[in-house]
């Protein structure tokens, strides 16, 4: 029962948080975002528990989850100027989606099936116990593991679970649902519904059959969690800026707010997630320039990401001062936060920059790619020995030692083929946005891992595991590419037309 109660509490938090914008997100978007956003509510419970100092009580849990949903709902009201319009969410869908998740969680918990590892026990479960005891933030949580997974583990324990295992299979389901929705919706304008569904199912099936996806479905670690938030943030950016399904300006703020919240979730699930906030930020910046939107249009995303991050890191610095860590020290966190703030300003004001503003506004993708190359080169020049060792280790882990089999060879071949045939199959701006997201992800990963220690060969290497986060985006891109080529095969002409509101 505890897993069912935990899942229900999480869903209720997410539904309440997103309630003001549910009609804008549509039925599918609203429900698919509820559980991941609800999970973030447990971070606020940890905050309340840390402030009260004792073991979490039912009052702490209620205050934290209600507080989290109230704060996010407040942001939603700020971001959305009007709440009329949009599609109502049928009541039966709450029972339907909630019933599926709760039943799955119950079945997993009754069976006891899980995976165990040093990290799962000592990084996440143990620090979850610490938080549930009212332990509060420590340098280990802030500098090494991130607050989200220990807080989720604490929440599960407080509600009666001896070993918290259910969020991971549920988030795996969310990843597949997001990829399916994204591929199918993206192809509906050019393919018959059944064919679009077939391509989407094939993309999900191939993703699920990869070793690293299958291996993480039950694995209590950070990767499926951060992959979910990265995918959700990019999905939300697509719905806001890259999809013709958005009804003019009315839905955009809601989707951008969701993109920002998911970006914060990414940063909370892993300490290096903070750096990968660059991915949705870069894509949102490019797309808003392409659409001719002002920088202020991104404000909901900035609020959605910025306020949780500012609150969390502000509290961390206030409680801990600075902190030491091999992964994210206080000093490094400050640098990354400042860099992100500057990036946000740059993205918002890009077209106004003297000398280069016009060039950026007409060719934003080139500038992002150039900036990525500059960042990689800077790290390479500054730390050539460790960078070159890291680069070799990263390559060998992706292609030989990391347990990915032929996957990355196939992915590279697919990307190359898509670029060679780009003009013939691409419809609309989004495939470019998605390709850019994948490119910026790898650029960020190379900078992060190239500037640290060289890593180790094998599946346990940090970069090997981090590469999993981008897999859903890769298979999303694959589905769009394959489906678009298939559509061209049938019609002989790539069509661009108004898409229906995806899945709602």
């Amino acid at each position: 029962m505890s897993a069912a109660v935990f899942t229900l509490a999480t869903l209720l938090c997410g539904w309440a948080a997103l309630a003001p914008i549910r009609k804008r997100l549509g039925t599918l978007g609203f429900h698919i975002a509820a559980y991941p956003i609800g999970l973030m509510g447990w971070c606020v419970v940890a905050l309340v528990g840390g402030l009260t100092g004792g073991p979490w009580s039912p009052v702490d849990v209620a205050l934290g989850l209600i507080g989290a949903s109230a704060i996010i709902a407040g942001l939603a009201r700020l971001s959305q100027s009007s709440f009329t319009g949009g599609n109502p969410v049928p009541r039966w869908t709450y029972l339907g989606w909630g019933g599926v998740l709760i039943a799955l969680a119950w079945a997993i918990s009754v069976s006891g099936i899980t995976q165990s590892s040093y990290d799962a026990v000592f990084h996440y479960a143990s620090w979850g116990v610490w938080l549930a005891d009212g332990g509060g933030l420590t340098e280990w949580i802030v500098g090494a593991y991130g607050p989200l997974i220990p807080a989720v583990s604490a929440g599960g324990r407080v509600l009666g679970a001896g070993w918290v295992a259910t969020p991971w299979p549920l988030l795996s389901l969310h990843v597949l649902a997001l990829v399916y929705t994204a591929v199918r919706s993206g192809l509906l304008s050019t393919l018959h519904e059944m064919r679009a569904s077939f391509v989407a199912i094939a993309a999900c099936g191939l993703l699920a059959s990869t070793t690293h996806f299958a291996g993480q479905v039950l694995y209590p670690h950070s990767h499926m969690v951060s992959a979910t938030y990265l995918l959700l943030s990019v999905f939300a950016v697509w719905r806001a800026l890259g999809s013709d399904a958005v009804e003019a300006d009315s839905d955009r703020p809601s989707w951008l707010l969701l993109a920002g919240l998911a970006t914060a979730g990414l940063a909370f699930s892993r300490v290096d997630g903070l750096a990968y906030a660059a991915v949705p930020l870069a894509v949102a910046g490019v797309l808003r320039l392409r659409r001719g939107l002002p920088g202020a249009a991104l404000l909901p995303a900035v609020l959605g990401a910025g306020l949780p991050l500012a609150a969390y890191y502000g509290l961390a610095f206030a409680l801990l001062g600075g902190w030491d860590s091999d992964k994210l020290s206080g000093r490094a966190a400050a640098y990354v936060l400042i860099a992100l703030a500057l990036l946000v300003a740059l993205v918002a004001l890009a077209e106004r920059l003297p000398l280069i503003g016009h060039s950026i506004s007409t060719g934003p993708t080139r500038w992002v790619l150039a900036a990525s190359l500059v960042a990689i080169s800077a790290v390479g020049i500054a730390r050539w020995d460790s960078f070159s060792d890291s680069a070799v280790t990263m390559y060998r882990n992706l292609t030989e030692k990391g347990g990915y089999g032929v996957l990355w060879f196939v992915a590279a071949a697919m990307m190359l083929l898509s670029l060679l045939t780009w003009r013939r199959w691409r419809t609309g701006p989004w495939p470019g946005g998605l390709a850019l997201a994948i490119a910026v992800f790898f650029a960020t990963a190379i900078v992060v891992h190239g500037s640290g220690h060289p890593g180790r060969l094998g599946p346990a290497d940090s970069f090997t595991r981090v590469a999993f986060h981008v897999l859903p985006l890769v298979f999303w891109y694959w589905g769009l590419f394959a489906g678009s080529v298939l559509a061209s095969e049938r019609t002989g002409v790539a069509q661009v037309s108004r898409e229906g509101r995806g899945g709602s």
Partner: protein, 183 residues
């Protein structure tokens, strides 16, 4: 139409490669094998490594204390804790890692792990007595915890355990300290 058929053909080959790769998933499995575990102690035991003993000790103490209505107890350990057990140690980077480590137990015990000056070796006769004692709860990896029965409320609130080992140094015993008593 040539580029489309060619592109679809290449995509088909790539998909076939991935599908073939998927058939080799069992031999390429690089993650922990699925296990059945309903609590922290059994999940730690299922992981297999020697250092999981720290989690089992922490979980065992918490469970037993909670059952008695006591808060999370304090644990006193000898100064040579890393040499206490005679079990094969884990290695990391080619170096052996101490099996028992206060920093790994700390988060489970609210950080209340302290060193104390005492002899952690139990006599065989004491071990035999504990093996017959119904107050002893047995956990995975032969971690044995004595329930804190018969203690006053004040003693429960200030509950402190000490870690001991049997003469073979393979079995762990966690024994509550009585007020004012020394073992």
């Amino acid at each position: 139409m040539g580029w489309r058929r060619g592109t679809l053909a290449v995509l088909g080959v790539l998909v076939a490669l991935l599908a073939y790769d998927a058939t080799r998933l069992p031999e390429r499995w690089v993650f922990p094998r699925p296990v059945v575990a309903h609590d922290l102690a059994s999940a730690a035991d299922a992981e297999g490594r020697a250092r999981m003993l720290n989690a089992i000790v922490g979980a065992a103490l918490r469970d037993v204390a909670a059952e008695a209505g006591a808060p999370v107890p304090k644990l006193e350990v000898p100064e040579d804790l890393d040499e206490l057990l005679d079990v094969p140690a884990d290695e990391f980077g080619g170096r052996p890692q101490s099996t028992l480590n206060p920093s790994l137990m700390g988060p489970l015990l609210r950080g209340r792990v302290a060193t104390a000056d005492y002899d952690p070796a139990l006599l065989e006769v004491v071990v035999e007595m504990l093996d017959r004692d119904p107050r002893v709860v047995r956990y995975p990896r032969d971690v044995n915890v004595v329930r804190p029965e018969g203690l006053s409320e004040d003693a429960l609130r200030a509950l402190t355990y000490r870690i001991f080992v049997d003469p073979t140094r393979k079995r762990v015993f966690l024994v509550p300290l009585a007020e004012g008593a020394t073992p």
